[in-house]
């Protein structure tokens, strides 16, 4: 099979998903920030759309995960990176060639662009052929590259470039300036560098490092009239070389291979992701290739975390806390309770992000992960829309939940974060129970963040998880969430927690400390 794309096993996967559903979970899971961080600095490749295209099959996911695994070999990664740099240089040289005025200058930039292209391609081919590649994507690309490099058009092009470049490199000329007269000749063999002579006369005085008095000259890519005249003189001194250069440019207007330019863009999806997580890995956070299945809802993750938050803490400083989760049949619903600002929302986000990232075929946070290949990812997070009255919010919640339940199937993942919190605790309990029962009946996977501890014990399908509070100091937050029965808070305290009105909570809020629930 001929190679076409390093990102898509099947061309049908390449379509941006933009529905109400995706827009909702993108915001809730902080995916826009996550994607922005990953693609930062790579704007020229226009990678964002690829991060909005969850794949259609487990096989398509594995196609990418294989490539990611190959890229874990440092040298494979390095080879692809230097190839990318070459291609960037090619584009830059071409842009200059377009922009400049004097033809001998344009032609030289064009020649350099082709030379860089050939060198980049050959180097990549040579290096890839040395590695043991196991991914279908890179193996197939490597075969394509090999064929291309051996093709007649490519080898001819390479030869022409080589010959011309060497001729130009041999040119050595002398400019004599006296008054208004400028004379250009070939440089004589016995010429000596006068600066070096001066240096050697005084070398005996040198005691150590010396200050540099070299001056900065403004380097414009353009040539001024005098430079152009000198170059014209040089062209007269070496007429054959410059005639060949002109002919070369005329004959090779389109020299780039389409499949390769596509690869150059698409491979950046992998490189961008790996580059962005590398600093986190250096800080001790783990990433793993997830095991993605359609057939089992027993999901499992160890040492996972909210990637968007990890990026944010990397910039602002702060320690990331990792968590584990696991569902064992018949468990389907993780119910997270515990004090405010304890890491509940972060936990829920991480759960969603992991599944989304797996759908993109990316390595996920954590040292190990078994994830479910869902058909719909549905989220509803409490939003801080202050202007809205309480009744309006409750109504919105109900409408949204209704929509979610309409779409959801037994293959869906639903993440609910403090829904119905705008109503009284009694109503919240009642409504939440009803909704969770429907989800249970549907047999969908669900994460539910709530203050209502009763929800954690609705039946065999629920798993209770609690934010950890050190026993000796309940005001401390560890941001750890573990599998454990609810804490059994008094109703009054639960209320206070719910509205963040405990002594500690008020103090914390007054102090405006940044926190992971923010």
């Amino acid at each position: 099979m001929s190679f076409s794309s390093i990102l898509f096993l099947s061309p049908s996967d390449e379509k941006v998903q933009d529905t109400d559903e995706t827009r909702a979970y993108f915001e809730d899971l902080n995916l826009p920030y996550l994607i922005e961080t990953v693609t930062a600095g790579k704007e020229q490749y226009h990678l964002q759309p690829y991060f909005h295209m969850p794949l259609g099959s487990v096989d398509a996911v594995n196609y990418r995960l294989e490539v990611f695994r190959n890229l874990e070999q440092r040298e494979v990664h390095a080879s692809l990176q230097s190839f990318a740099t070459s291609m960037q240089n090619v584009r830059q040289s071409l842009a200059r060639s377009e922009k400049l005025y004097y033809s001998q200058q344009k032609q030289r930039w064009f020649l350099d662009a082709v030379a860089t292209y050939i060198h980049g391609i050959r180097q990549l081919n040579q290096e890839l052929s040395q590695y043991t590649l196991s991914s279908r994507g890179l193996l197939s690309f490597s075969r394509h590259l090999q064929q291309y490099v051996e093709s007649l058009p490519f080898t001819t092009l390479a030869q022409d470039v080589e010959e011309l470049s060497q001729q130009l490199a041999r040119i050595h000329y002398t400019v004599h300036i006296k008054g208004n007269a400028v004379n250009v000749t070939k440089t004589e063999a016995d010429s000596t560098d006068y600066s070096a002579t001066i240096e050697s006369t005084f070398a005996k005085f040198r005691q150590g490092a010396v200050k540099d008095y070299h001056m900065e000259f403004h380097e414009s890519q353009d040539m001024n009239h005098v430079e152009a005249n000198i170059l014209a003189g040089v062209a007269q001194l070496y007429p054959d070389t410059f005639r060949q250069l002109e002919a070369f440019c005329k004959h090779n207007r389109t020299f780039m291979d389409g499949t390769i330019t596509r690869f150059d863009r698409e491979i950046q999806f992998y490189i961008a992701y790996l580059e962005s997580i590398a600093p986190l890995q250096r800080n001790g956070l783990s990433f793993c290739s997830p095991h993605v299945v359609e057939t089992s809802k027993e999901v499992y993750s160890q040492q996972s975390f909210d990637l968007a938050l990890a990026f944010k803490l990397l910039r602002e400083g702060g320690k990331m806390v990792c968590n584990d989760f696991r569902t064992m049949n018949p468990e389907r619903i993780l119910v997270i309770t515990g004090p405010n600002q304890g890491g509940k929302t972060t936990f829920a986000r991480a759960f969603g992000q992991l599944h989304y990232l797996a759908h993109l075929g990316c390595p996920v946070p954590g040292s190990e992960a078994n994830l479910f290949f869902y058909n719909h990812l549905l989220t509803h997070f409490e939003r801080e829309e202050k202007l809205e009255d309480l009744k309006g919010r409750l109504q919105n919640d109900l409408v949204r939940i209704h929509d979610i339940l309409e779409v959801a199937t037994d293959r869906s993942i639903i993440i609910l974060n403090e829904v119905f919190s705008s109503t009284s605790l009694m109503d919240e309990l009642l409504l939440s129970k009803v909704v969770l029962r429907q989800i249970m009946d549907m047999d969908a996977l669900c994460v539910c963040v709530t203050f209502v501890e009763e929800l954690a014990q609705l039946g065999t399908k629920t798993v209770s998880m609690v934010t950890v509070v050190p026993e000796d100091n309940p005001t401390l937050r560890t941001f750890r969430v573990v599998r454990k029965a609810p804490m059994g808070h008094s109703f009054a305290l639960a209320l206070a927690e719910k509205y963040a009105l405990t002594y500690d909570a008020i103090k914390e809020r007054m102090a405006h400390e940044s926190s992971s629930d923010a």
């Binding site: 200058q105 006296k178 208004n180 440089t187 010429s191 006068y194 600066s195 006369t201 070398a203 170059l231």
Partner: protein, 505 residues
């Protein structure tokens, strides 16, 4: 061209960071008094003295090398001062031609360097003349080497070569630039070529291009942008040679700077010598011995800083410390313990930098570094308690010290009680001694001093500040078993003019 008066084979760099413990040494040993006597009000001499005194030479040959140079300086002070003043004038000449706005242009930079070079040549000639005339009178290897080098490197031929360059640098026949084709075929790797007779023949030089070779064009007089472009190209060439010449001038300057630094240290020593002789403090060149030989003895060793402070002779100590790695000093308060400790520290520093010492005769082995741990009046940092601060300093010292170091402790750990303090002092002292550090410990902890004493260590010596039977202090220290009191009662009685019941010894 190397000065090499401070080291046989290396430069002396007064700007090198001082040893990490330098500030503590200065404070604890009152090194400032010595340094200011050397500097006599000159900031530069102070800097050089500080760098010289605080950085040890390291080996016996190095110490002897400096001692010899210093002896020459003491014998031929006038000539040495003349050399020093030539170096000073060179540095002033360089400063006089400051880098102004014009020097941002290659021709400005070039002219400035030519002007400075002309002055330097005069001064270099003077150096050569002194070498020709006076070299024979100096005995040290350092000076003999320096003068021989000046005579060899600054020959008449060499001065002629420089004159030839000064002519060529006027570029009467224009400039020749060579280049290759760089990115986009723009000129690259510009070099300014040396103008010489065969360069395309004389006629070609006078009328570029007219006689057929190459490709010639002219810039119209009124074409301003082209004129600018041409002068820019010319500057590209000139700036290369301007850079080379300016760097050369800097290099000559750096030779003069080096000469000033190295002579500066010795002039400082000469100054100190003069003052000590004036106030009748004995001065001698000590015999340096290799590290770890554990030999140290001196006759009438004085505390230089105290003598300078009092502007007169002070009590000296005569002791033999051969084989001693732990010296514990106890005895009367204000009996001269700290003074002795300081005199010992200064002695070692001065010995190690190649100076004379304040004693009638002396010999000692070199150590890898002198360190001090003196009790401090108060916790200056305010970040930790006094005892914490002391322990903190000690742990830093342990990090800094290497085997063969010398540690001078003055009432260390006095901020805690005798029981705790003694325990720590003993553990620290014994551990260091067993790690080949020589420890000299002034203490009023009887428990500590006596504890060590009872160990019967052969390499330990116990000294007591001397007190005569009438309570009178001689400010000398003498070997003797630690006593259980520091004679605070004496002081009390003197100050309060009333008796105090003395505890039995």
């Amino acid at each position: 061209m190397k000065v090499h008066l401070m080291h046989d084979k290396a430069d002396f760099n007064p700007d090198r960071p001082l040893p990490v413990n330098a500030e503590e040494l200065i404070q604890d040993l009152h090194v400032d008094a010595v340094l200011s006597a050397m500097a006599v009000g000159d900031d530069f001499l102070l800097k050089v003295a500080k760098a010289g005194v605080l950085a040890s030479v390291g080996d016996v040959d190095g110490v002897l090398y400096r001692q010899d140079v210093l002896k020459d300086c003491l014998r031929h002070e006038a000539i040495v001062k003349k050399l020093y003043s030539i170096a000073l004038r060179a540095i002033e000449a360089d400063k006089k031609h400051y880098f102004g706005l014009l020097n941002r242009y290659p021709s400005g930079l070039l002219n400035r360097s030519i002007d400075v070079l002309l002055e330097f040549i005069q001064l270099l000639r003077q150096l050569r003349d002194i070498a020709d005339e006076d070299a024979g009178r100096f005995q040290s290897q350092g000076f003999t080497q320096l003068f021989a080098m000046l005579q060899e490197e600054l020959s008449d031929d060499y001065f002629a070569e420089i004159d030839e360059h000064l002519k060529q640098l006027k570029f009467r026949d224009g400039i020749w630039l060579s280049a290759t084709l760089g990115p986009g075929n723009k000129g690259a790797h510009y070099l300014l070529l040396q103008p010489h007779e065969t360069q395309s023949g004389l006629l070609q030089r006078l009328f570029p291009g007219r006689f057929g070779q190459g490709y010639t064009f002219h810039i119209a007089d009124r074409d301003e942008s082209a004129s600018r472009a041409l002068s820019n190209l010319r500057d590209r060439g000139l700036h290369l040679v301007a850079n080379a010449l300016t760097q050369s001038v800097d290099a000559i300057l750096s030779f003069f700077v080096q000469l000033r630094s190295e002579l500066g240290f010795y002039l400082g020593c000469v100054n100190l010598h003069e003052q000590l002789t004036q106030i009748s403090v004995p001065v001698c060149f000590p015999k340096p011995l290799p590290a770890a030989t554990r030999r140290r003895q001196f006759a009438k060793l004085c505390d230089v800083s105290l003598a300078l402070h009092l502007e007169g002779p002070v009590v000296g100590n005569t002791l033999t410390l051969h084989g001693k790695e732990l010296v514990v000093i106890t005895g009367a308060n204000q009996g001269g313990k700290s003074t002795f400790l300081r005199s010992l520290g200064l002695f070692q520093l001065m010995l190690q930098c190649g100076m004379f010492v304040a004693a009638e005769s002396a010999e000692a082995d070199l150590c890898s570094g002198v360190f001090t741990h003196f009790t401090r009046e108060e916790d200056e940092t305010m970040t930790s308690g006094k005892f914490d601060e002391e322990l903190n300093r000690m742990t830093d010292l342990v990090t800094q010290m290497q085997p063969q170091a010398m540690l001078l402790c003055n009432e260390s750990f006095a901020s805690t009680d005798e029981r705790e303090g003694s325990e720590i002092a003993q553990q620290v002292a014994l551990a260091l001694v067993e790690s080949s550090v020589t420890v000299v410990f002034v203490t009023h902890f009887y428990r500590f001093a006596h504890g060590c004493y009872e160990l019967n260590m052969e390499n330990a010596l116990y000294l007591r500040a001397e007190r005569q039977a009438d309570g009178h202090r001689t400010f000398r220290v003498r070997p003797g078993e630690p006593l259980e009191t520091s004679y605070g009662t004496d002081l009390y009685q003197r100050i309060f003019a009333a008796p105090l019941d003395e505890p039995s010894p």
